[in-house]
Each structure stands twice: as C-alpha cells, then as structure tokens.
C-alpha cells in the first residue's frame, strides 16, 4: 500500500514515529515534518532515509511542506502542555492545519491516546473504541487530544479526507535514549530494587511493543473513512504491574521491593485490542518476550535468566 508512495510523517523524531519511519522509509518516498529544534535531529532523519522538511503544525508555517502526499501519518503530539490552551494549539489546531495542507491525500492517520476516555475507577475496566470519552486519564494532554479528535473529525468531514484515529496505549521496547514511562520504572528497579505500586488499587495497562506498531499502519490506513474510523493501538494482553515486575525480577535475578505510593503516576488503561486484531491480526510480540528484548536493548550489560513464558 505505501510501496512507492509519497508519504508524510510527523513525530518521527519520537519513538513511535521513528519505528514507523525506519520500517517504511526504504520502500516509499517518505518526508519527515518537524521543527528540528534538537541538534542532530535533521541529520538523523536524513540517515533514516527520509527527506526532512521544516515546519510547525501548531505555531509556524507549513509553506516549505509539499502538498501532494498520498498518505499522511500524523504522530506528533505535545505530551506535556502546561495548560489546555497551549495543548489545543499543538494537539487540536495543529492536526487541522496539517489536514488542510495535505487535503489531496488518499488517507490521513492520526495518532490519539487512550487518555481521551473518561477515567474508570475499575482497574480492570477495558476501554473499547466506543467507551465514554472525557476527562481524568491524562489531564491537559488528554483533553487537548480529545479536542484534537474533534478537529480531525471536522477535517475529515470538511475535506472529505478518509481518516483513521489510532488511540495509543503506552509503548515500550526501544533503545531510544529518551526512556518512556514504563522503562524509567524498569531502569529504577534495576538501579535500586524498588518498584512503586499504587497503595489502594491494582494497576493494569495494555502496553504495546514499539516494533509491533508499524505492522498496524497499512491496515489502519485501509480502514480510514469519513467520518473517521477509530482503532485502539494496544497490546493483546492486559499486563498486571506487579506480575510484570516479578517477571523482570526473575530475568535479572533480583526480587522487586514493592513500595506503595499514594500518587501512583499512571492511570489504569487497559484497551480492547479486538478491532485492531480484526484488521491487522494478533500483535506479534507477547509482553514477556517484548520486555525481555527491551531490557536486552537498554541494558546490554545484564545477562538475563531463562524464564518460562
């Protein structure tokens, strides 16, 4: 589907975008849109095989960006907006400006987040694509992404641009120096033996393995429609936080010391993978396999034990 096509990607300087860019740059004419404010990011993009183009979705010009893309993969997001007003510029108005610019595309893929849902207190609650939307999971980020979904829906309807909204869980697995939330916890465990756990509830998520995500790009683009389709991006399994760290403890031969904290930083976020499974098949990497590989990548100094999966 993307073979030989002209494709625009945003957010390729982040982890998910980078994994997708690495997969598809060799087979298509892929352009990478970013501000390139971080030193070396332009050169890294060239090295990945992309044509870098400078632009700013929310606050600057898109004048240098071509308009004749076949497909757009909008993965960029402002993850820590200080206020919702600030988040709206990057996470709501930005996607609209990009859609407007690339209106002749065959399909537009927009990465959203499980944080657009109304938070459920039940740790085992499973968010489907139809579950209630609202506040509570991701504060200013989640709300600006919810408004962003509104903008993307509007863009699809106004421009008649087939669109798919992919609601991402939390990913893990890259050797990217900028560790994500789960890997920061793993690093801390390896360093100190400590693992924070919520004081008053169990914690589950359905994290997805970074290198499984590119498998879903083409099936999701094929599902793009007007109004937009919604597809959960998550792993196939609900992962129990304590079980995860007991498993990692076995791998590194260290007993985790669970420390109860009142303000555990992550909300429960198990998503239903069945729609994604129906269009893209099962996730390739079970979590035990994925976390083993992740630790091998991030901590080559460790020798991991053989553990029954």
């Amino acid at each position: 589907m993307l073979n030989g096509r002209k494709v625009l990607i945003t957010g390729h300087t982040g982890r998910i975008g980078q994994a997708i860019a690495e997969r598809f740059a060799p087979i298509c004419d892929m352009w990478g849109l970013a501000r390139y404010s971080r030193e070396g990011s332009w050169e890294e993009t060239v090295a990945t095989g992309l044509t870098p183009v400078r632009g700013d979705l929310g606050r600057g010009s898109l004048d240098e960006v071509p308009t004749d893309f076949d497909y757009v993969l909008n993965i960029a997001a402002a993850i820590h907006p200080a206020t919702t007003d600030e988040g709206l510029v990057d996470n709501c108005e930005g996607p609209a400006r990009l859609m407007s610019h690339c209106r002749s595309a065959k399909a537009f893929l927009h990465v959203s987040t499980v944080s657009v849902h109304k938070y459920s207190d039940d740790p085992r609650h499973v968010y489907t694509e139809e579950s209630d939307i609202g506040a509570g999971i991701g504060s200013a980020y989640g709300i600006s992404k919810l408004a962003g979904e509104g903008a993307v829906r509007a863009g699809a309807i106004i421009l008649d641009l087939p669109t798919v909204i992919c609601r991402q869980n939390v990913q893990y697995g890259g050797a990217h120096p900028d560790a994500n939330v789960i890997e920061q916890m793993i690093d801390r465990f390896i360093e100190t033996g400590e693992v924070p756990v919520p004081s008053d509830h169990e914690y589950f998520n359905s994290a997805d393995y970074l290198y499984d995500i590119p498998d879903w790009i083409e099936p999701c683009l094929a599902a793009a429609s007007v109004p937009p389709a919604i597809v959960n991006w998550c792993g196939d399994e609900a992962i129990n936080w304590v079980e995860l760290f007991e498993y990692i403890g076995q791998l590194i031969d260290r007993q985790p010391r669970f420390v109860k904290v009142g303000n555990f930083p992550f909300p429960n976020s198990v998503q239903d993978p069945s729609k994604r499974q129906s269009i893209a098949g099962l996730a390739r990497t079970p979590w035990k396999e994925g976390f083993r590989r992740s630790i091998e990548m991030r901590h080559p100094e460790l020798t991991l034990a053989k553990v029954e999966r």
């Binding site: 206020t83 919702t84 007003d85 709206l88 510029v89 709501c92 108005e93 996607p95 609209a96 400006r97 859609m99 407007s100 109304k118 139809e130 579950s131 209630d132 939307i133 609202g134 506040a135 509570g136 504060s139 200013a140 989640g142 709300i143 919810l146 408004a147 962003g148 979904e149 509104g150 903008a151 993307v152 829906r153 509007a154 863009g155 309807i157 106004i158 421009l159 109004p227």
Partner: protein, 313 residues
C-alpha cells in the same frame, strides 16, 4: 450589523434559539433550522417571520438549506447523549457538516457550555476563557461538547471561517425551552421542595435569555481564525439556596431544601469581564430575571389549576 443579512440559526426551538429568532426574524433574512418535533413550533417560527427548515444537521442532508449565509448561529446540541458515538455525531460532527455547508459565511457563532471547564476545587471560582478545560459533567455532554469545540477550531482553520465559541452558563427566562432554574421553580411550585447538592455549594452566574439576544452582534464581531472564545455569563454569581430563598419570599412559601446527588457538579460561575468589555453590563439581574420567570410560571400554574378545577366539575 445583521440588518437585512442572511442568517442561519440552528436549534431554534431551544430557549436561546427562540429568543434570537424572536429578536432578529423581522429585520433579517432568517432561516431557522430545527427538527420542530414540538407540535406547532414550525408554524410559530413561520409566524415570527423566519423561514423554518426541518433538518437535524447531525443526521439529515443539508440539501434543502441554502449555502450563501452571511452569518451562522449554531445553537443545536444534544444535551443528553447516551454514549460517546451519539455525542460525537450530534455535538461534534454536525458542526463540521454545517461549517462545510456554510463556508462562505462572514462568521460562525457556536454555542458551547461552561461545563467544558476543568472543575475547580473552589465552587466560587470564576472561570475565565483561558482556564483549563476538561470535565465529565452531564455524562457524555461536556466531553462531546469539548470535542465539538475542537471541531469548530479545526473547521475555522481549514475553511478560513472566522468563528467564536460562546460558553454559556445557565440561560433562563425564555418563553420556549427550560433550564435547571425553571425546572427547579416548577418542582418547588408543585411540591414546595428545592433540591440542593448532596455536598458542597451550588453557585451559578445565570444569564437571562434577553441578554443573550443582545450578545449576538458583539460576539460575532469577535469571531476570528483561530477561533475566539467568550463566556456567556451573567454579571452576578448567586448561590442556589439564595436564589430559592428569594423565590420563597416572592411566593410567600418557604422552600424545603433537600439534598440530592442529582445536582452535584451542576454549578459553576464564569468571569464576565470579556463579555462586559464587548457588550457592556447585562440588563437583567438575577432577581429581576427570576421574578419574571416566576411570574410567567405562576400564571401558567394558576391557569392549569383553574382548568383542572373546571374539568373536575
């Protein structure tokens, strides 16, 4: 500004829609979009001098609707969506369809709600237009209105269509439609009871519907790309109990307050500064507005009592 212009108003049979229709039907070329499910409402709109069109912008084709409006006033909304999909269709996607259809308009005014604001721990906090948003109030209502604000922003940018989001407090006092104030007045008149939140205070800055009609032109002048935001709020904050103590004085009947979680999280006051700076102070304070609403209700209650009395004979 609006005189002899071509206007599209949606949600015409709502409290706000009807007041705006009544104000502008004679002096503008006013097209009034609604489902008109209430018997007689289509003819009533016609009688006001508007051009009623039966259409739900969320689900129906807009083919019968001309595209060449000067201004669009979008009051249509679903206050009680049953689920996320219903909310997004009615309170988000419908806006995009309308903006697309009316892309040549000079300005697009969209009605939103103060319930999109992120609840502040202090119930007397006056929300300003730049305060954080994000709430689950009214089930899927506030979340779908939040996505709807995103649709307005997106549509405004994509179409280059100047737009303004008007976040309304409790609007009350009209001949058509109801608000939580009227609901509570009716309940009080029928039973003597007034529900109050199960915990905490309920504070509002209600806006009389006559003042809303005055806000249309100043609001349209603020429309911009990217979309502007304006609080549609009264000038005064009032406690729910204070409001009903006053209703009690006027009716000579002491309200029996009883706690109910039905009213939890229903309040919220907004900062009127920006509205005042473009439109001046409101004309109808809450006491005057509540008295007028009560007189209207009292008359109908009295009439209803008389009719049922006659039937009983």
């Amino acid at each position: 500004m609006l005189e002899s212009r071509k206007l599209l108003v949606t949600g015409c049979t709502s409290q706000i829609g009807w007041a705006v229709l009544s104000r502008y039907a004679g002096t503008t070329d006013l097209w009034a979009l609604s489902r008109y499910s209430e018997p007689g409402s289509f003819d009533a709109a016609l009688a006001l001098g508007a051009k009623p069109v039966r259409c739900d912008p969320a689900t129906d084709s807009l083919d019968k609707v001309p595209p060449d409006f000067d201004y669009v006033l979008n009051f249509a909304e679903k206050p009680d969506p049953g689920n996320a999909g219903e909310g997004l269709s009615a309170n988000c996607d419908s806006i995009a369809r309308l903006m697309k259809h009316c892309r040549s308009a000079r300005a697009f005014l969209h009605l939103s709600t103060n319930w999109v604001y992120k609840p502040h721990p202090d119930p007397a906090h006056a929300y300003r237009e730049h305060d954080d948003i994000g709430s689950n109030r009214g089930g899927q209502y506030a979340p779908s209105k939040t996505a709807g604000e995103g649709a307005v922003r997106g549509g405004g940018l994509i179409l280059g269509l100047p737009a303004i989001i008007c976040r309304a407090n409790v609007v009350y006092g009209g001949a058509h439609g109801r608000s939580m104030i009227e609901d509570a007045i009716d309940h009080f008149l029928a039973t003597g009871e007034v529900l109050v939140p199960s915990e905490g205070r309920l504070v509002l800055s209600p806006l009389h519907v006559e003042d809303v009609a005055d806000l249309i032109e100043p609001s349209l002048r603020l429309a911009a790309v990217p979309t502007a935001v304006l609080n549609w709020t009264g000038d005064e904050a009032v406690e729910w109990e204070e409001l009903f103590a006053y209703v009690g004085q006027l009716t000579g009947r002491k309200p029996a307050f009883s706690r109910s979680d039905m009213l939890d999280g229903m309040g919220g006051i907004q900062d009127p500064s920006r509205r005042r700076s473009v439109a001046g102070p409101v004309k109808v304070g809450w006491k005057e507005g509540v008295r007028a609403a009560l007189e209207r209700r009292n008359m109908s209650v009295a009439a209803a009592a008389r009719i049922s009395g006659e039937e009983g004979c």
